[in-house]
Symmetry: C2
Subunit: 121 residues, 2 copies
């Protein structure tokens, strides 16, 4: 067992997973990898089905883990901006692998995601 910050990990993969596991984390990170900077509602609109509570929770955890950073653009009215940190960006190969794997799988099942993308509005 590996011990770090009072937590135990069975192996390095376990360490990595502790950052990105959670129902929406990878999806949020991948979105930010694509768009550079996004507001709360922009992220929400890109993840059909996520509730504001969930989004808020996951963003907080990602921020705590230093994978994303939040800038408050103005207090009144309250406007924010989320973006990946360097640590967050270091997961990019993960997002592209998962995205490519998923597109491959879809293709084998008769769905051409890239071609049909306009259908998924």
């Amino acid at each position: 067992m590996i011990k770090l910050n009072d937590k135990e990990y069975t192996c390095p993969i376990d360490v990595s997973l502790s950052f990105v596991s959670g129902k929406w984390k990878i999806l949020i990170l991948a979105h930010l990898a694509q768009f550079e900077k996004r507001g709360f509602s922009e992220i929400r609109e890109n993840l059909p089905g996520i509730s504001e509570k969930m989004l808020s929770q996951q963003l907080k955890q990602l921020e705590k883990d230093h994978l994303i950073s939040k800038s408050v653009l103005s207090l009144k009215p309250y406007r924010v901006e989320y973006r990946l940190t360097e640590t967050g960006k270091s997961f990019s190969p993960l997002f592209s692998f998962l995205s490519n794997w998923g597109m491959d799988f879809l293709k084998k099942n008769g769905i051409d995601y890239l071609k049909d993308q306009q259908l998924y509005k």
Copy 2:
């Protein structure tokens, strides 16, 4: 939204994640990627903390999703062997990325996993 087999996915990444999300799945797959073929107890011993119930559940799901295959070597006594299918093997880049990312992170935190491995018996 992408529809496949009565389920909905927000994007290709979501499709990929549906196969490998779950507390122990990636760890089990990565172990099988390393060892080719393993019995039930061999896997369990490699994942400190997993219960037999969990291992049994996760193996069943992985088998149902065709990421691993199970061979029954003998009925009396009951002996089995698990290994990755070709689909399972196609996730290998994922395992190596996560493993390398984890080792990098550990190194930045003063832990040299490769060097200290013998300590983690």
